[in-house]
């Protein structure tokens, strides 16, 4: 059926580990080469940590599956070096329509904010997303990706984890310091360890179909509530790469998945949905149910769960893969620093603290969308329907219409790693939030601020200081810290100091957008974590404040930390 994409087949290769005389040991083994497992390996490699990935299959996602990738995910991909390829292939859209029963209720235009490298989101089939990650992974000698390799046994301990593997030519065993698990919603590793992911099962089924339109069709997202072609249910249409359109049809709990998947049953529905005159070809179809659930603790001994294995959401709002990649980014820099002995092991527990908070937020948002799309009782349906009726003429009601809220990164404001706000700043970039992008100039070359951040701690400091000598002294006291780079921001119109005199990278804020987004004044400084999260900010730059916030961000002030 599928014509626009052929799944690559990756070769199984015998690993030297299979012929080792004693059990080989690796710092990190990752289970699962999906979006999260591949992302974890890349993030670790960028921070100097080698890893082994094992996957029981030998290809990428079969079917389009996750298709909406949010800005934050793409910023992370850009840090990994595969964001631009995804942007080039993906579809950016900003217009949409909402229908209720027979008629169009309203249309919208998302009007994106200027001065960001990455758009709010793109639509891209999961197989492309994974394929580009695999290609990037193959560029790193530090990453050993082993296809057709399945975990059959896990033994956890306080000091190390041991796993048994089976392959097309035999079984073997390896050990690791940390086992990172990204083997999906029905995680086998989770089962092997007797752990559970708990939450809510939704009694509903959805049909997803990818179709290729033969004629032009607008690049818009169309969402129907209770349409004539699917009475009492919902439907969604939006565009992916290669002129493939994704259709999601709510079926209800009583639908027979095998019957609904048949082309002769899908076709008439879609024809009614798209209009009689539209010709299309069916590429792929699947029926799914979903759950919102998570593990109580994402960590057991030295086994750490990520992505759908750790937390699962309904598809509305695209928070599965997006939330998953954000868990990975939160974890990777911590694992790297603990392995290098630069942070206490307690730092890893904050992965659980920070990402439980993220998972709660994602589950809450996707559950709210689900409840709006399929109301759970009579009065909920009344409110839903009346909201849609009001939305036609009254813009306020459109703010209540919830067919999925865009995935935004959560704020770790209450995390024990974050130095609480003490100074007076305007704007949303408080400690615990993810840095915002802005254009900058490096020498004579235009660039982007986010491309200068990440993988190590960064102190971003506004150089428009009247007493430049004092600032220079503070910065010199920080220049030798191995995990901290200094980036000096020269305000618009200021002449750059000589590069040789400055203990870091100089960038120009020629458009003034950095100053605006970060509410910079002369001497204002931000400490940014390797995951681009603001760890602390001050109106003045003081070396002792920075050192203390850095200690805190690395977990040295956690209970029982050495």
């Amino acid at each position: 059926m599928q014509k626009t994409y052929t799944n690559p087949v990756y070769d199984y290769r015998r690993s030297p580990d299979q012929d080792a005389t004693s059990t080989p040991h690796h710092p990190v083994i990752i289970v699962g080469a999906g979006p999260c497992g591949l992302a974890a390996a890349l993030d670790l490699a960028l921070q100097g940590i080698p890893s082994v990935i094992v996957d029981d299959n030998n290809t990428v996602s079969v079917g389009s599956r996750a298709i909406c990738f949010a800005k934050r995910t793409l910023e992370i991909m850009d840090r990994y070096g595969c964001g631009e390829r995804m942007l080039a292939k993906g579809i950016t859209w900003q217009r949409g329509k909402v229908f209720f029963q027979q008629e169009q209720v309203y249309e919208f235009d998302l009007l994106p904010e200027d001065h960001h490298k990455i758009p709010a989101f793109i639509n891209l089939q999961q197989y492309y997303f994974e394929e580009y990650l695999v290609d990037r992974v193959n560029e790193f000698a530090e990453i050993d990706l082993r296809w057709k390799t399945r975990v059959t046994e896990v033994a956890t301990g306080e000091d190390q984890t041991s796993i048994s593997l089976t392959t097309p030519d035999g079984d073997y065993r390896i050990t690791c310091d940390y086992l990172l698990v990204a083997d999906g919603a029905n995680s086998k590793i989770r089962d092997m360890l007797g752990l559970e992911s708990k939450g809510q099962v939704f009694q509903d089924r959805f049909l997803i179909a990818d179709v290729v339109m033969k004629a032009d069709f607008p690049t818009e997202r169309w969402f129907w509530f209770d349409p004539p072609f699917n009475p009492g249910q919902s439907a969604l249409l939006h565009r992916q790469a290669d002129d493939v359109w994704r259709i999601d049809l709510q079926l209800g709990w009583d639908a027979d998945p095998e019957e609904e998947k048949k082309e002769e049953n899908i076709r008439p529905r879609l024809q009614q949905m798209l209009g009689d005159e539209v010709e299309f070809e069916l590429e792929w179809a699947s029926v799914y149910t979903f759950q919102c659930r998570k593990m109580d603790n994402f960590i057991r001994d030295r086994v750490i769960f990520m992505g759908d294995a750790a937390h699962q959401v309904s598809p509305f709002g695209a928070r599965g893969a997006n939330g998953g990649v954000q868990t990975v980014e939160n974890l990777a820099w911590k694992v790297a620093r603990v392995l290098r002995g630069e942070a206490p092991p307690q730092l890893l527990q904050t992965y659980n603290d920070e990402r439980q908070h993220g998972a709660d937020e994602n589950i809450r948002n996707s559950t709210r969308s689900t409840d709006f799309i399929s109301p759970k009782n009579h009065i909920s349906r009344v409110f839903r329907d009346e909201t849609l009726k009001l939305a036609k003429n009254y813009p306020f009601a459109r703010s209540l219409v919830n067919s999925g809220r865009l995935s935004l990164p959560c704020a770790y404001t209450d995390s024990p790693l974050i130095t609480p706000e003490q100074d007076d700043f305007a704007g949303p970039l408080c400690p615990g939030t993810v840095a915002r992008d802005a254009p900058c100039q490096i020498g004579t070359e235009p660039g982007w601020l986010l491309n200068q951040l990440g993988n190590r701690f960064v102190l971003l400091v506004d150089l428009g200081m009247p007493r430049a000598d004092d600032l220079k002294q503070e910065l010199q006291a920080l220049a030798d810290l191995p995990d901290l780079d200094i980036i000096g921001v020269c305000p618009a119109g200021m002449e750059q100091p000589a590069a040789a005199d400055f203990p870091g990278l100089l960038i120009s804020d020629s458009s003034g957008v950095i100053a605006e987004r970060y509410d910079l004044q002369p001497g204002s400084s931000y400490l940014l974590r390797p995951d681009q999260v603001v760890a602390a900010r001050w109106r003045d730059c003081s070396a002792s404040n920075v050192k203390q916030a850095l200690r805190k961000a690395l977990g040295f002030e956690l209970e029982n930390a050495a």
Binding site: I379, E386, L390
Partner: protein, 77 residues
């Protein structure tokens, strides 16, 4: 202002006002029941839903809306 005992002293904008506030209480009540007079139960339910949504948006403030929900829910227990 803090020692004043007139009715505006507890009219804090971030809390639900449960003191009389109608410019024409009887008139509103009559208009409300009139609006429902010709409707069956199902239509009335829909009218009430629209009314709640319109008024809730006009209030907007989450604290006030939460307090109203709480007061209304408590009477059912």
């Amino acid at each position: 202002m803090s020692t004043s005992h007139n009715s505006t002293s507890h009219l804090n904008s971030s809390h639900l006002n449960t003191a009389p506030n109608f410019s024409d209480a009887d008139g509103f009540y009559a208009a409300l029941t009139d609006a429902h007079r010709e409707l069956d139960r199902d239509q009335s339910e829909r009218l009430n839903a629209r009314l709640i949504l319109l008024l809730a948006n006009h209030i907007g403030d989450s604290t006030i809306l939460q307090e109203a929900l709480q007061v209304a829910s408590e009477l059912e227990r």
